[in-house]
């Protein structure tokens, strides 16, 4: 039983948290008169997201409250007139994304996610040389060397708890046998200290220099000698030590977060990670792991790929999918006036808001959405995993989890709203 009820209070167990890409699914949440409280396993992000009382809002046309059906009619009218819509944000679950894809096909739209820049950094590497990657349960039970490159996983608050510092592991790997290494700028290495106090190793360099450091390591693991004393301020001797650790690891992992590698041509840095992993795999086992997928990004990318053949970003304007990871970014197509309507979707948080554009704009957002402009149509939407059931894919693009409905909501989901739009168009 994952649900127990008394008169006024319901306890939901094994609740999946949809608010970051690692989708912890062990939350215990109490619903007391529609107010939620996380009783177990809530990180600060989950607490802030689940426990904040749902804001009161209403569908609006040009800032004026209207019934939902009027707002849906207004969306249909705007989309009918549009020749080149952009459907962006895409903060929704698998079901919502399925409707997005259907609507995009029907209206000839471009689709892009609010974290599109991060997504394509990985896509470009996948499409150029590929990679060797792993998933959370493998790391949890196998990884004896974990290198955090350009990230400290702070945006994924329970990553260390859920995948690294374990009471038990399948193959009797003890916490003290794990070596944690950070490479990057201003990384908080606190979480990398083992429960018994074994500290991690940190190599400080600028984010822009991580690729160079990894290239140096790659040269060293191949046995090359480098005719310099340091790379990016890191002594060759230090790198040599790490290179030896990498060669000696039984199962090494390089963790990166594409969103945090916010530098020009970050894909080249990610490719450096993937290529040293491939080289080491000739002799031992090594793998990459990408920490991403907030706001349903992994689901959006995957649903887009299976329904259109391409990952984001895709343009349906010609009646078939056209893929261009760079050109069809929200930023570019708005700046270059390639689109004449914007439909923005964000049902998990109001952290990333719709851009202000000088074209008809429709926003399907959380009820607490605060915009610095009045969109033509605004509809407050429910959050999958809180107000509705649903499904999301985890950051590793392998595991997906069911989402529970843990409270009643007066708002409809992106899924059902877009379904009505599609039916009425």
């Amino acid at each position: 039983m994952d649900k127990t009820s008394t008169n006024s209070s319901t306890i939901n167990k094994d609740v999946t948290c949809p608010f970051c890409g690692i989708l912890c699914d062990d939350l215990v949440i109490q619903n007391q008169d529609e107010t939620l409280k996380i009783l177990e396993n809530g990180c600060p992000k989950a607490v802030a997201s689940f426990e904040t009382k749902q804001a009161i809002s209403s569908p609006k046309i040009n800032g004026k409250n209207v019934p939902l059906s009027d707002a849906i009619t207004a969306i249909c009218n705007i989309l009918k007139k549009s020749h080149n819509p952009l459907i962006a944000g895409l903060g929704t679950d698998v079901g919502g994304m399925r409707q997005v894809m259907h609507l995009a096909d029907k209206t000839g739209a471009i689709v892009d996610h609010m974290h599109g820049n991060a997504l394509i950094r990985n896509s470009l590497v996948l499409q150029d040389l590929g990679w060797i990657t792993t998933t959370m349960t493998e790391i949890r039970n196998r990884a004896d060397l974990i290198i955090f490159a350009g990230t400290d996983a702070r945006n994924y608050p329970r990553f260390f708890e859920r995948t690294i510092w374990n009471k038990k592991s399948m193959f009797k790997l003890k916490n003290e046998q794990r070596q944690i290494v950070y490479i990057g700028d201003k990384l908080n290495s606190k979480a990398g200290t083992s429960p018994n106090g074994k500290p991690p190793t940190t190599l400080n360099c600028k984010t822009e220099e991580i690729g160079e450091v990894i290239s140096g390591l790659h040269a060293l693991v191949t046995g090359a000698t480098l005719d310099v004393n340091e790379i990016a301020g890191i002594k060759i001797k230090t790198l040599q030590t790490l290179a030896e650790q990498m060669k000696a690891a039984k199962y090494g992992v390089i963790v990166w977060s594409p969103a945090e590698l916010d530098i020009p041509h970050a894909e080249l840095t990610i490719q450096n990670f993937c290529e040293i992993v491939k080289y080491l795999t000739r002799y031992t086992r090594f793998a990459g792991f990408s920490l991403a997928g907030n706001d349903g990004a992994t689901s959006a990318n995957s649903v887009c790929a299976w329904q259109s053949g391409y990952p984001l970003r895709v343009n349906f304007n010609k009646g078939y999918p056209e893929y261009d990871a760079q050109r069809y970014s929200t930023h570019n197509v708005l700046k270059n006036k390639e689109v004449d309507t914007l439909l923005w979707i964000s049902s998990f948080s109001s952290d990333v808001n719709s851009p202000r554009a000088s074209i008809p704009t429709i926003v399907l957002g959380t009820p607490d959405t605060r915009l610095n402009f009045k969109p033509d149509v605004f509809i407050p939407v429910s959050t999958p995993g809180v107000d509705d059931t649903g499904q999301l894919l985890r950051t590793d693009s392998v595991v997906s989890l069911p989402l529970k409905k843990v409270r009643q909501s007066p708002y409809e989901s992106v899924n059902t709203i877009l379904k009505q739009v599609i039916e009425r168009m």
């Binding site: 062990d26 499409q127 493998e138 399948m170 790929a305 990952p311």
Partner: protein, 551 residues
């Protein structure tokens, strides 16, 4: 609401009907007996001179799940030359080797297929597999859950747990993942690769668990038997693609002691080491073993020349094969201490000795196995070739002069090394109806599919009997799904969603106690969330689950 198909020439091997004029009656989605003379027939189709078969069934095609989605994402160049525009009825999408789900569904239906089965559903990826299958319209679908390199099973085997407990776990997995069968891929080898073992012979021990592929095969085959799962254990054997693996395959057949076993894409497991290039055909020995062992069924995994992508759960051998990637990019994944996958694009070249001989080996196996009830037509889509090449493959089997013409164009040494030119056999339409309809339905336990008798679901394909069989099988005149006309002259006329076929084998649910502890200790999802509710397929998917009976 009766529909009549009249004047057609019927091929229905389940009922021994071999090209006879029969009328077929459909009512409420099912084939029925001839109704009484006062019953109103609402619609009559004159099928004069046309060939009528049940809808075709693909028993092994990678249409959904993580690895095929990786292939899609990795290969924009694959799609660019094969873009599919939306129509009034159908959504846009693309091919070619790794098509979008929607396009795959449409293309299968337009080729006369009405059911497709995904053979490698990783339990940890099952939910996504069902999502992708739900987004594959037109056809029925189902999937085989992949076991054999998962830690829980290997742990049970290593600690010599009794077979009953292992069978309970297998039964639990089928239920939890909404599967229709059990597949094993490179038994124990995917796990071994994670411990840095680069190969695993049939009797070699996984270094951590101390169990061999032979132990795994026997245990899973027994579990499948004990649970009454209709489809035999679906086996992708050891040593895929390795010259000399012929002997492994023969030994694998002996290993199961007469228990039923399906050896999939056996072409990739039928290689000898003779000749200057240490690569030769083992088709004759393999076919002989299949002919002698009625407990064995196979599908071929025919290769056809051109660009494709190989997508497999066999991370160990996909890693070994990555040196041949074309274009030069590839993906290997270790997955959840459960399984793995490897995605390696590949171009089969007719002038390359090895590729040309692989082509010949596949055809030799088709033609040397006597019983079409035990050999199914597959290319292991997309590994040997995209499923859209089936009509070409059917022509190769049915038309000896065409086959010999093709043989004369391939690498000369390979052609000389093959016995293909000396094989006269041509498949008949009856044989094709067996291997693409009757036999896969029987093997999967789909009692009311794959035939045209009263009570069968009215999944029916009607062809014009062209001399050119490629033309004939590329573009059926009519396809009916559940009695509705969905394809006319090779084009979709109505979009439908097929159902998902599953099983609910009985098992002792006491196994959940140990599983719960195991998930809590080691996994990164909870046991409850690992399991897929019907609602996730029904409400969030395509709307229908069909539970097939166990034996």
């Amino acid at each position: 609401m009766y529909i009549k198909l009249t004047n057609g020439i019927v091929y229905d091997p389940v009922h021994g009907i071999n090209g006879e004029h029969r009328d077929i009656y459909i009512n409420d989605g099912y084939i029925t007996r001839k109704p009484s003379s006062n019953t109103k027939i609402c619609k009559t189709y004159d099928m004069k001179g046309k060939i009528i078969m049940a809808g075709a069934i693909d028993i092994h095609t990678h249409i959904g799940g993580g690895k095929i989605n990786i292939a899609r994402m990795m290969l924009p160049e694959d799609h660019a030359a094969d873009l599919v525009e939306k129509t009034e009825l159908t959504r846009s999408g693309c091919g070619y080797a790794a098509p979008s789900t929607l396009t795959a569904g449409y293309r299968y239906a337009e080729m006369g297929y009405t059911a497709c089965f995904e053979p490698a559903m990783l339990p940890s990826n099952a939910r996504q597999t069902h999502m992708e299958m739900a987004d594959t319209p037109m056809v029925d679908k189902g999937a085989y859950a992949m076991l054999g390199s998962d830690d829980f099973f290997l742990r049970m085997l290593a600690s010599k747990k009794d077979q009953a407990a292992i069978s309970d776990y297998v039964g639990w997995t089928i239920n939890a993942t909404q599967a229709l069968g059990i597949k094993v891929v490179n038994p124990g080898g995917i796990s071994a690769f994670k411990f840095n073992q680069r190969k695993l012979e049939l009797d070699e021990l996984n270094q951590y668990y101390g169990v061999s592929p032979r132990d795994i095969l026997k245990s899973l085959a027994r579990a499948v038997t004990e649970l009454g799962i209709p489809h035999p254990l679906h086996v992708h054997g050891c040593n895929l693609g390795v010259p000399g693996n012929l002997n492994t395959t023969l030994e694998t057949i002996r290993a199961v002691d007469g228990m039923r076993m399906h050896l999939t894409h056996i072409q990739f497991h039928s290689y000898g080491t003779e000749g200057d290039k240490n690569f030769s055909s083992g088709a004759a020995e393999i076919a002989e073993a299949v002919n002698k062992n009625p407990n064995i069924s196979i599908d071929v995994g025919q290769i056809l020349f051109g660009q494709t992508v190989t997508a497999s759960g066999d991370s160990q051998h996909q890693y070994a094969g990555h040196w041949h990637a074309d274009p030069k990019k590839w993906v290997i994944m270790d997955i959840e201490c459960d399984a793995g996958c490897g995605v390696v694009p590949f171009k089969y070249r007719d002038k390359n000795f090895v590729n040309a001989l692989q082509w010949a080996i596949g055809l030799e196996i088709f033609l040397l196995v006597d019983d079409p009830w035990r050999v199914f037509l597959t290319t292991d889509h997309p590994n040997g070739a995209p499923f859209t090449s089936y009509p070409h493959l059917i022509r190769l089997l049915m038309d000896r002069s065409f086959r010999n013409d093709m043989l004369s164009t391939i690498n000369k040494e390979a052609a000389a090394a093959s016995t293909l030119a000396s094989i006269d056999r041509e498949y008949s339409l009856y044989d094709i109806a067996i291997m693409t309809r009757a036999a896969p339905a029987r093997s999967l336990g789909l009692k009311n599919r794959g035939h045209l008798g009263s009570g069968a679901v009215a999944d029916i394909t009607v062809y014009s009997n062209h001399k050119d069989k490629e033309k004939m099988f590329s573009k059926p005149d009519y396809v009916f799904k559940n009695g509705e006309l969905i394809v006319r002259n090779g084009k979709i006329v109505k979009v439908v969603n097929g159902a998902t076929h599953t099983l609910r084998p009985e098992y002792d649910n006491g196994i959940e106690k140990s599983l719960k502890r195991y998930f809590d200790d080691f996994q990164t999802v909870s046991l409850g969330n690992f399991k897929i509710d019907d609602d996730e397929i029904v409400e969030h998917g395509n709307g229908k689950i069909i539970v097939q009976p166990c034996m």
